[in-house]
């Protein structure tokens, strides 16, 4: 790893100002960034640690929404949302392994937008709001493609706000070596509408399977999905699975999710 200047601010304002210089990058757990820097795929001149900012940590109810600070670790989310939002707790509790969950944070995962990460599916599937130091962004507008988000240079995910569905589930088909989803689906039922977010499958990153959402809104059964088909055109094709396989998994995992909830 190339050397860099390291700073660890205590407040969001200090962090934003530290990030204003060129070549500065935030560090928010580092479970992706550390390996990336060791492989010299990233070599920031300055790392701004977000791990000592108390105002970015914690889980609480904010009206009828669940507020989770951007610097909250997966382990804390898994533990503290078990009652308020069990599907999200289950998602957080299955990311990586226990040591990764001690370090990795929701803000880091969402800002990175790995096409196979779990949190983007949870956020998009829930219709969450991404809170940054300057604005609030709907999850529908936030995730913009593989490793691409609506974040501007130096903008930090300070929190994520989740509306809580009537019922929801995260169905994950893991790639057993990496523990990332080969394909995973987050299905949330809000009574009058259904959201289906898919991760691990598309080269464009997390996406909503709107055809399934429409079918499920009027008939929330596995059968409603059975007749649909998913195009393999934009799907990731690699040594772990072809695009056709991932397209098929999208449907299978959605059906399993609905069967488990119905």
């Amino acid at each position: 790893m190339h050397n860099f200047e390291y700073v660890r601010p205590k407040t969001i304002d200090e962090a934003v100002s530290a990030l204003s210089s060129d070549e500065a990058q935030p560090l928010s757990g580092g479970q992706t960034l550390m390996p990336t820097m060791k492989a010299r795929l990233a070599a920031p001149e300055k790392l701004v640690s977000l791990t000592a900012i108390d105002e970015m940590k914690g889980v609480r109810m904010d009206g009828d929404q669940l507020w989770i600070g951007g610097g909250t670790t997966h382990a804390t989310v898994a533990r503290e949302t078990a009652d308020s939002y069990p599907a999200l707790s289950s998602l957080a509790g299955r990311i990586g392994d226990p040591s990764v969950r001690s370090m990795g944070t929701i803000g880091g995962s969402i800002a990175n937008n790995d096409p196979s990460a779990c949190y983007p599916a949870g956020a998009l599937g829930s219709g969450a709001t991404i809170v940054t130091n300057t604005r609030e962004i709907a999850a529908d507008d936030f995730f913009q493609g593989m490793f691409m988000t609506a974040l501007e240079e130096g903008e930090i995910v300070t929190a994520v706000k989740f509306p809580i569905p009537q019922k929801a589930i995260y169905q994950k088909f893991i790639q057993p070596a990496s523990r990332f989803p080969l394909t995973a689906v987050f299905v949330a039922h809000f009574g009058d509408n259904v959201r289906v977010a898919v991760t691990g499958a598309s080269g464009g990153g997390v996406f909503r399977w709107t055809e399934a959402e429409e079918a499920l809104a009027s008939n929330f059964t596995g059968d409603a999905v059975a007749g649909l088909s998913v195009s393999a055109e934009d799907m990731i094709s690699d040594l772990h699975g072809s695009g056709e396989y991932r397209a098929h998994l999208t449907k299978v995992m959605t059906k399993r999710a609905v069967d488990a909830l119905a």
Partner: protein, 163 residues
């Protein structure tokens, strides 16, 4: 350079590190606590698991500077005060939970975290928890048995070879 201070196995330590210095390198090279091993150096094998503020962490994927002010526990701090093996260490010895021993520090530290969170884990829960710890010798069976035994649960005796 960054000045850092932390408590390691109950003792105050300090040092000056580069931004890029990993926690595992600070422990091994600066503090000479070489019980924490580096296997893969890519967050996968778990040989470097230590405790930071009570949580399991892969020390190869955390900057030393990130542990400034933290309470750190390593394998060297696991034995009892009189130097005898901890319950988990003794169970690994008793149940032959190691062969070459390279992964063992990480296995013991992960096991200690598990038993703190979940004092009576099922065999399935133990296997799930050890997701991030790789052992290339034992095939895991005896590691799982050792952790079951350390949690005070019955361990089936090994099957007798057919006559």
């Amino acid at each position: 350079m960054n000045s850092i201070k932390m408590r390691v196995n109950g003792k105050e330590v300090s040092g000056t590190v580069e931004g890029r210095t990993l926690l595992v390198d600070f422990l091994r090279k600066d503090l000479r606590l070489t019980g924490t091993h580096v296997g893969c150096d890519t967050t996968q094998c778990g040989a470097c698991v230590v405790h930071v503020n009570g949580n399991p962490v892969k020390a190869c994927s955390m900057l030393a500077a990130e542990a400034d002010g933290a309470e750190v526990g390593t394998i060297e701090g696991q034995a009892n005060a009189d130097g005898s093996l901890s319950v988990i260490q003794a169970a690994f010895q008793e149940h032959h939970g190691l062969q070459c021993g390279f992964c063992t520090p990480g296995m013991i530290m992960a096991a200690a975290s598990l038993l703190k969170e979940n004092p009576k884990p099922s065999e399935h829960e133990i296997r799930e928890y050890l997701d991030g710890n790789i052992c290339r010798c034992t095939g895991y069976h005896n590691i799982v048995k050792a952790i079951l035994a350390a949690s005070g649960q019955e361990v089936a005796p090994p099957a007798m070879a057919a006559e």
